[in-house]
Symmetry: C2
C-alpha cells in the first residue's frame, strides 16, 4: 500500500490548544504514513507524489475516542433516567452478559464497527467484555475496517452478577494470557489491559495485571472517581488507599510511562490530582456520560492548568453518541455550566481547546497522533460542509466551528489512518 | 381539505408529565381537524373514514417550539464562545440588520422554513426582526408550508445599534399597526406582540404595546431573567420594578390570560416566580441556549412544583439545533447537572416530563394543542425508527426513548397540523 501522497484543501489543526492553526488552500504532505508537513504551495520535491485534491473542503486530524464500551453500543440511548451503579446493574451488565454468544457479538459488534468506521474517529481505546472469543472478534472486525487503537478484554472477578464475573483472579489472569497470545497477529489494533474498576477487581487480580503490564509493557485503561457513591464504595473496599487513584497505585498499576488512561475523574481530591500528574495518567473526559448518569462535571480547566493530560471519550453507552464532534461540543457546554456553578469560576473551554482534546490531547495515548506536525501519524479526516448553508461568506475557521456544531449536515469525504485510506461504506447523507 | 381520518400505529402521548401513555397498534381518530380519540380497535362508526396505516411506526403529538429567532437561523453554530450581551452585539444584531434587504430575507427565511417544515415541530412562536416587509414574508412562507403558530415583528427603540433600532416609540407602534393590518389575511400563522426585552424598549413603547394587546387581544412574547448582567441592567433601567418581570407588569404587559410567553427565566427571584404564577405566564425553557451563552440552568423542577407553566424552546441561534427532540434531551441533561450543583438537589426531569414540556406544556400557548386527548388540535408526527438497530426486541416506550436520543437516525414519515397534512420535501435520510 502506498502511504506517501499529498492532500490539497483547507488544513486545520491545533498543535496548541489555545487557537486553531489554519492553512487555506494548503498542501498536506504524507510520507510513509507520517505527516511530513503543511505547505502553502507544494515543494518541488513532492511534485511526484500522488496528489488528491479536496478543494473547498476541510482537512483535519482524525479524532481520538479514548473511552468507549463497544458492547454497550447496541442499547445506547436507553435507561438514561438512571444513575451509574443502578444503570450498570439494570442495563450494562445484563447487556454485556450476552457477549458470551458469538452470534449476538457478531451482530452487535458488526454494527458498532460499521458506525465507527464511518465516523470521524480514527483511533479508539475500547472496552470489550470479559469474553475472550467475542473480544477477539471485535479486534478482528476493527482491524479489517482499517481502524487503529486498543481493545481490552475486561477483567472482573468480584461484585458483579453471576453471569458476568470470572471465577477468581487466577481464572481471570489465565483468560487474559490466552487473549494476549491470540492478539499477536493483529497489526493495527493492539491489546490494552482493562480491569473494569476497583469494585469489580480483587487485589490479587489487580496485582496480577500489574505484573503482566510490567512484563509485556502493555497500556492500561480503567475508570476513576466517576460518581460519589462509587468513590465511597472504593473507600470501603480499599481502606488503605489515600484516594481512589491510590487504590490502583497501591497495586502497582500506575506506572509513569504515559500509557494509562483513566475515564471520568469527575471528583478528584487534591491528592488524586497529584497522583494523576506524577504518574502521567491520561484523563478520558466523558462529558455526555457524566451528565447522563448524574455524575457531575469534571474539573478540566484545573487539570489543564495543573499540567494533567486530558483527552475525550464518547463513553458509549453512558454517552449515547459515538460522534467525537458531539463530545467536543458537550465538553465546551459542560465547562460553561461548571463555570456558572463552581465558586472558582473556571474559564469555559474554547472550541479550539475541545478540538485539541479530541485530537492531540487523546492522541498521545497512541504515540504521535492527532496533529499535522512533522512526524505525526497521518490520521486525517476530510469534511464536506457544503450542505450547511450560509447567507454570507464565512472564514475557514468559522466553517469548522459550524461543521462541529452542525455535524449532522456534514459529509465525511475521506479518512486516512496512519496514511492508509479507510473505506467509507455509507455515503453519510 | 378532508381533515377527518384515522391513523393506525403505536400511539404515544403524555396527558400527564409523569409517564408516557402508550397504545400499541392503536387507532387515532381525527374529526374536523380535532382529536376524537384513541382506540385499541376501530369503532364501527369510524369505519368509513379514510384509514392510513403506519404499522410498526411511532405516532406522537407534534412538537411545539415556543421560542425561536428565525433570522438567527442563518448563522446558528457561530460565536458559541461568547456570553449573551457580547453575543448579541457581535452576532445577533448585525445579522438581524440584514433583514432590511428582502433578497437576503428570502434566502435565509426560505432555509429556515424549509427545515422547520421538515422537522417534528408543528407549532412555533417565532421572533422575526423589526422589519415589517421581511416579517410578512416569513409569515407567508410559514403559512404556505402549512405550519401554524405565531410570528412577531420585533419592537426595539433604544439601546440597540443604529441600523437595528426604530426611531422612537411612536414609529415602532406605527410600524406595528401597519404589520397587524397586513397580517389579517393569514389563517394558520398569527401575529404575536414582540418587544425584544426591557433594555431595548422604552417605557412609552411598552405601554403602547400593552394598549394594543388589550385592544386586539394579542398574545405576547419576550425575554426574561436570562443572564445576570442583563438582570442588573434592567434593574438600572427600571428602578421602580421589584424584579425583571415586574418591569413588564408595571407597563401593563402581563395580563392573566395565559397568552404571554417569556423565554429563559434562568434566575427568578421568589417575587418573580410569584408574578409568573399569578399572571399565568408561560415559561419558554431554552436549555441549549442557556448553556451556550453561559446563562445558567433554569429551575424547572421548582416551576413545576409551584404550578408555573413551562414549555420548551430551541432559541435558535442561542441554541444551534432546531430539533425539539434535542431540546427535550437537553432539558433532561441540564436538569441532571442542576441536581448535581443546586443545594436543593431538585429531582432531574424524566424523559416523559421533557416530552410533556415539548408537547402539551408549550402547546397551551396555541390553544388545546400537544396531546391526543379528545378535542385537541390534530397535530401529529409519525416516526419511522427502523434504522435504529437493536440487538434485542424493545418495548414501544423504549423505542421512543431511543428515537428521541438518537434522532439523527429517525425518519419523519408524516406530519399533520390541525388535521392538515404537511408536505415533507426532504426524505430526511
Amino acid at each position: 500500500m502506498n502511504t506517501s501522497f499529498v492532500l490539497a484543501g483547507h488544513l486545520i489543526t491545533t498543535p496548541e490548544p489555545k487557537a486553531f492553526s489554519v492553512l487555506e488552500n494548503g498542501y498536506l504532505v504524507i510520507e510513509n504514513g507520517l505527516i511530513q508537513g503543511c505547505y502553502s504551495s507544494l515543494p518541488e520535491k513532492y511534485a511526484a507524489l500522488p496528489l488528491q485534491r479536496y478543494d473547498h473542503q476541510l482537512i483535519i486530524p482524525g479524532l481520538c475516542d479514548i473511552h468507549v464500551h463497544a458492547p454497550q453500543y447496541a442499547y445506547r440511548g436507553l435507561g438514561m433516567d438512571l444513575e451509574l451503579l443502578e444503570w450498570l446493574n439494570t442495563h450494562a451488565f445484563p447487556e454485556e452478559a450476552h457477549y458470551e454468544q458469538m452470534e449476538y457479538a457478531q451482530k452487535a459488534y458488526g454494527q458498532f464497527v460499521h458506525d465507527l468506521q464511518n465516523s470521524a474517529t480514527t483511533r479508539a481505546s475500547i472496552f470489550a467484555t470479559l469474553h475472550v472469543p467475542a473480544t477477539l472478534l471485535l479486534t478482528q472486525l476493527l482491524e479489517q475496517a482499517g481502524m487503529r487503537g486498543y481493545v481490552g478484554k475486561v477483567n472482573m472477578d468480584r461484585n458483579s452478577p453471576d453471569n458476568l464475573r470470572e471465577r477468581d483472579a487466577k481464572e481471570s489472569l489465565r483468560q487474559t494470557e490466552e487473549w494476549l497470545t491470540q492478539t499477536a497477529s493483529f497489526r493495527r489494533v493492539r491489546p490494552i489491559l482493562t480491569p473494569r474498576f476497583v469494585p469489580s477487581c480483587s487485589d490479587e487480580l489487580l496485582e496480577g495485571l500489574a505484573a503482566l503490564r510490567k512484563r509485556d509493557h502493555l497500556p492500561l485503561q480503567s475508570h476513576l472517581s466517576e460518581n460519589e457513591n462509587e468513590i465511597a464504595w472504593v473507600k470501603e473496599l480499599c481502606p488503605a488507599a489515600s484516594c481512589y487513584a491510590d487504590a490502583y497505585a497501591l497495586r502497582g498499576l500506575l506506572e509513569e510511562d504515559g500509557s494509562v488512561v483513566m475515564a471520568h475523574c469527575v471528583h478528584p481530591t487534591d491528592g488524586e490530582r497529584k497522583i494523576l500528574k506524577e504518574k502521567k495518567v491520561l484523563v478520558a473526559h466523558c462529558p455526555a456520560s457524566n451528565t447522563n448518569l448524574c455524575s457531575g462535571i469534571a474539573p478540566i480547566r484545573r487539570f489543564l492548568e495543573e499540567g494533567i493530560s486530558v483527552g475525550l471519550g464518547s463513553d458509549i453507552a453512558g454517552g449515547y453518541e459515538l460522534s467525537m464532534f458531539r463530545a467536543m461540543t458537550d465538553a465546551v457546554q459542560v465547562s460553561k455550566l461548571r463555570s456558572c456553578f463552581d465558586p472558582l469560576k473556571p474559564k469555559p473551554l474554547s472550541l479550539s481547546e475541545a478540538f485539541y482534546l479530541a485530537t492531540k490531547g487523546g492522541g498521545q495515548l497512541f504515540g504521535q497522533v492527532g496533529s499535522f506536525e512533522k512526524g505525526y501519524q497521518a490520521d486525517i479526516v476530510v469534511l464536506d460542509d457544503s450542505r450547511i448553508e450560509s447567507a454570507r461568506p464565512l472564514k475557514v475557521e468559522e466553517r469548522l466551528e459550524r461543521a462541529i456544531y452542525l455535524e449532522k449536515d456534514v459529509r465525511i469525504t475521506a479518512k486516512y489512518i496512519a496514511g492508509e485510506p479507510v473505506k467509507l461504506s455509507t455515503p453519510n447523507q
